[in-house]
Symmetry: C2
Subunit: 351 residues, 2 copies
């Protein structure tokens, strides 16, 4: 009978009854198509071949799994360079990749406001399907809830993900060691400024697009160059400043970076100056920071530069014994300042 | 420095900055305490012992994983017999248990409205911790987002779960076979009526409490009695009617049940009559339906009756060759009617 795309979401789409079933069969199954999801069970059953090891894992290596969750509440839902669907898949894939894990499976949970346009939902779901395809992962289970209209035309998406960690990979924000080189995969601040520009209707000379992207293939290329990567983190909410502070704190090391080495697009820098933002505090959704031993740094950077989303990879500083838990920035004019996490809310609803 | 519980959630609690870190360390880590979550990595790393097999799994059996997600938007957040926290843990544990899986790990994603009371959040988180303890699972990863105030004092929780399926267990809504006995674990409709009564301020002669509970130990007892369970499902949104229709449809069988055999508490029946609801359409959060071969049915029912949450287990009907996809109810007065899924929204925000 078909679901007309000009229709809107009704409370009954979340009731578990006939409209719920239609939504699953005519929208989610179409865009997330895979045999596991199509079983429509209460939980996805994920058989592993043969001896129960993940594809590619050595038969007798201990298997470690990575499991993560993130909810996405970005406003607006569509912004230059991406949308909430691409963000919801990329963000969770990246959380797995930052543990050195190979992402395998995602779940998708939708909370939708009554009256939300079905054609808009279809665009978002199609975008999720495309991002999942790019990342090479499957969306294996889902859930939809509908809440009463509060006037906001709101859509929230949770994605949770499971991946496996190859033998010999020991990546943790607690593993940075003095002497490690700090690598950044490219220019910072694009996502935050892109979302803000669309939300506030700001016009910049050059348009800024979000960097939102799945980074698992980039991480695979990095691990191909060296298994001795100590730390991987994606600087999302709270920006590069927050991520480096977390690493310095969890590893009990000092991190020294140089302002002149941190790439920031001219348009992003101009927007930050206009708005009074520090680019170090602005969110990214397709960048990563790595700490790697000095002996491995050039090989890792070169592998990144040959990979999609890593073309702008560069060394921005290094890890020191101390001061423990602190991030120090050598400024363009030669001084040094402590880089803090943002204390307030810079940009709400950024991811 | 401590987080005063009389405070409210600010947008900055979702920013990834200092307030986010405080919320994680002073609330979530305290109630979900386990070594995996405490690592505060981007994804939980879940090491399996020795050869990478789940605890208790035979060393050379193929491992099958179950992975599920659900978002919880119940209104009100606290209702007789439970709250959104107990619901969010139980619901996802139950989705895993309905595949015959042993639940191991959960993630928790919070979407919180600005201004939400921190002491209320603390109550919910403590309830989640208690339910996780009862179920014997760990909450290993989490995420918090804060959205602007829309006046609704809203809290939404997503939980996703991973478990493993023991060798020899083959449970699916597509596995019902003619001759299978249909077992119901206890009286229906308690959750829906309990939530509705609190929401609408209804007074019934006898108070109705939600049945919300984790059913994984009950399922383990059932599997201890017989591995030949064909179908397990929990009749949540859409009630028993929807669940039986899903089984009849996915297994291409007919299901025949007897009204006189379906337990409904007097207070629930009275409330349904007053409100014009069919108890078969009302949500449950601590009940399950099983289809098992006739030869196994008594042993399974007896094992259930000896278990917490299964005391009221009873056989309510059986599976037939046809009519395929249909559920037939023998009514109290001796007639037969087709049981349909609810077509509209009976009770929004029920789970």
């Amino acid at each position: 009978m078909g679901m007309a795309v000009s229709e809107t979401i009704q409370l009954a789409h979340g009731s578990g009854g006939k409209l719920s079933h239609e939504l699953v069969e005519e929208l989610f199954l179409r865009h997330f198509h895979n045999p596991v999801l199509a079983c429509l069970e209460d939980a996805a059953v994920l058989p592993l071949p043969g001896d129960g090891h993940p594809p590619g894992a050595p038969a007798n290596a201990p298997v470690r799994w990575a499991f993560t969750t993130d909810s996405y509440v970005v406003k607006p839902l569509f912004f230059p360079g991406g949308d909430i669907g691409r963000l919801a898949v990329s963000g969770t894939v990246n959380d797995l990749a930052m543990m050195g894990a190979t992402p395998l499976w995602l779940t998708a949970g939708f909370i939708i406001e009554e009256g939300f346009r079905l054609d808009t939902l279809k665009q978002v779901v199609a975008s999720m399907g495309a991002a999942a395809g790019e990342a090479g992962i499957q969306i294996v289970a889902g859930d939809t809830k509908v809440v009463e209209r509060a006037g906001a035309d709101a859509l929230f998406i949770n994605t949770s993900g499971v991946g496996w960690i190859p033998a010999g990979v020991e990546i943790s924000a607690a593993n940075a060691r003095a002497g490690d080189q700090v690598i950044l995969s490219g220019p910072i601040g694009d996502h935050g400024i892109a979302v803000l520009s669309r939300r506030e209707g700001l016009q910049f000379e050059a348009p800024v697009e979000s960097d939102v992207a799945p980074l698992n293939h980039l991480v695979a290329a990095m691990l191909g160059a060296s298994r001795r990567i100590h730390v991987l983190r994606d600087p999302t909410r709270g920006g590069l400043a927050t991520t480096l502070n977390e690493i310095a704190h969890q590893s009990a090391v000092g991190i020294r970076i140089e302002e002149a080495k941190i790439p920031v697009r001219d348009a992003v820098r101009a927007a930050c100056e206009m708005l009074g933002f520090d680019p170090l505090h602005v969110a990214n959704e397709g960048k990563l920071v790595a700490c790697v031993p000095r002996s491995e740094a050039v090989a890792v950077v070169q592998a990144m530069q040959r990979s999609l989303y890593g073309e702008g990879a560069t060394i921005i500083g290094e890890v020191a014994e101390g001061p423990s838990g602190k991030v120090l920035l050598k400024t363009g004019i030669g001084g040094t300042r402590i880089v803090s996490m943002p204390t307030g809310e810079l940009l709400p609803r950024i991811c």
